[in-house]
Amino acid sequence: MTAVDSSAGSVDLFVSPMGRVEGDLDVRVTIEDGVVTSAWTEAAMFRGFEMILRGKDPQAGLVVTPRICGICGGSHLYKACYALDTAWKTHVPQNATLIRNIAQACETLQSIPRYFYALFAIDLVNKNYAGNPMYDEAVRRFAPYVGTSYQKGVVLSGKPVEVYAIFGGQWPHSSFMVPGGVMSAPNLADVTRATAILNHWKDNWLEKEWLGCSIDRWMEIKTWEDMQAWVNENESQYNSDCGFFIRYALEIGLDKYGAGCGNFIAPGTYLEPSLYENPTVEGRQDALIGRGGVYANGQHFDYDQMLVSEDVTHSFYSGSRPLHPWEGETDPLDPVKSREKGKYSWAKSPRYEVPGLGRTPLEAGPLARRVAAGAPNPGSHQDSDPLFIDMLAKLGPSVFVRQMARMHEAPKYFTWVMDWLSKIDLQGSFHTKPAELENGKGWGATEAARGALQDWIVIENGKIANYQVITPTAWNIGPRDSEGTLGPIEQALIGTPIKDMEDPVELGHVARSFDSCLVCTVHAYDGKTGRELNNFVINGMV
């Protein structure tokens, strides 16, 4: 309820429940002349998983970290497992890598429609757009529960994780990936059923509802012009949810704001089975199918986990300098008392030491992955896709481009999963029993649907000496650092035009375009009078 800055001519918005994945997010926004001029994102919930893991069994992360976030639990398991693989120097049979890839990708295929319809698209039917000629059609499709597309999208989003359950027993919260492979060994019907379920999902949602064309046709799109031509190519594409979304998004200006920092981080994910039978920290990036990379100031850089650090200057933790996660600390402070010292969030501020730029906040997520996929010199096994480099050059980053990057991954990953399913050697091995080393250091990474997710583990005397997790939400919603540099969502909110102070739906679009897993509460203040204009709650995925 606190107004941040009551200087004349400005209005403060304080946003609390907005949508969630790891607790609650409060957003405070300063508005001048109908445009956001500053923003503070505050993670408002603390559970202390890194402290819980200290002193526990080395494999405790396989059970505990998926519970950090139930929407990305499979991704947590995937990277926690690779952290142990690298620490214990395991051998991972190719079959096991295929199954890990399939499971990780199926979680993301679940997330794409569930996120789009249940969280993002409901803002498209906000009453602020009621005057728009396309509004009635948006409501018919996207209205919660009753919208024709909402129903199909939300219900069918459960299908890809049925495939996860075939290999992992259940979704969410399985721990079936273990150092050296996976616990399961599928039989013939497991693979054929998985194939059939995914085909059902593709036929009934991906191609029929979302694309209005074949996956192959969509994947021919290489430029922004190609995409615009695709929309107008025929009635089916024009009227598909994707075709409609592109037209509507441009109509209501989602391509005009929410740029963010324009710098990106993607550790990448999905390993080429033959290139990663003996997982190492150093060997990972070259073995990736979905490439990693950092993109800053218009330049591509190789991804190096050693350049990551976390700053707690504005976070409710003690600590005096940025630390690499292997040396990372998690010592919570009383949030009320430490507010006096300028601290305002339970999220730390992850930063990446970009060569020549210093410690830099980076945006994580599908757009970061799509940028990495457009870097030069891909390996023959690697994703190489110029589309979003082209769209960034022509449109710049925005709510719209971020959203399209996410949706573009549905047909891409579907194709990959089908390929991996076809490569499983049912007669082969799925696990190599590892030596459980008493000491070691490991790093595991992946791309959760919403971006870079990484664990750093230090094992000493057969137990966890240190465990640090950096989630995509931390990259995106992290607060200011010691230099006062804003986090990516804080930056993305700045410049957002607010048409209706009583219902600033534009803030919802920006925050939700990052798909950060937090519920947010909003308060609006008139800076001139200090009067509270408004407070509201925007929901989301936790």
Partner: protein
Amino acid sequence: MSSVLWLQAGACSGNTMSFLNAEEPSVVDLIVDFGLELLWHPSLGMELGENATKIFRDCASGERDLDIFVLEGSIIKGPDGSGTMDVFADRPMIDWVTELAEAASIVVAIGDCACWGGIPAMAPNPSDSTGLQFHKRERGGFLGPDWRSKSGLPVINIPGCPAHPDWITQILVALATGRAGDIALDDLHRPQTFFKTFTQTGCTRVQFFEYKQSTFSFGEGTRTGCLFYEFGCRGPMTHSPCNRILWNRQSSKTRAGMPCLGCTEPEFPFFDLAPGTVFKTQKVSGTIPKEVPEGSDHLTYMAHAAAARIAAPAWSKEDMFVV
């Protein structure tokens, strides 16, 4: 029509994600067909602006009828009982929970965290987390052992990490269709219809358990045997319907070769995941399981096991779940 308000405290949203996997009824069916009035949910619906906070306030004050209050996530009391480690809509979540629990006809805890504290309450419990009416197996929790809702019921616990969507949806439908009286609770306030049986009930490995034949390795090793002897499977000691009502309509952890972790019981995660306890059966004298199936004892178990091994047919030593 029943009104439902669903909040998340110290939660990962796993129960919500699980709930969204539901079919028959799906979330859409619950609302469109069963007339469930979902007043607010963190990941569903669209109340923006004034509306959401107003809904919470009106429900808390009694201005608006609240039939069912669903809580997901642990009750975070830290630091020092202030609850400020979990702030929601401007207040410590514990303040909302206190008022909404008093106002609702029925209170439902979904998932281990809300039932008994769950993983956040694991040592050293940095957030001072607890459950609504239990702390682990101890009665009390946040609301106290004698607390009853307006309808006279204690908190209904639907545990699991996460709870299966059917355990959630079928209870909601039962409450919404006037069958609250048919919901018999066990000592831990769990609906017996789901939690009387064991995780092992319906497990495809139960024949291997019968003849004391073990799985010896993960991966292809799980094509045969039972996970109880070497991999710490808690199926015979855990109450759940995981092998009666399959997960994602497809499988279960034990069917897929993963040992049951006992996540519908208040002690989960067992042994606080101390070194040497994860995916490993705890044994006495190097061979005998420290914990034997519920209701048995070591002597009876050993006699039974010896006889069972003698009786074991040849097929029980071969792969069963073959390509």
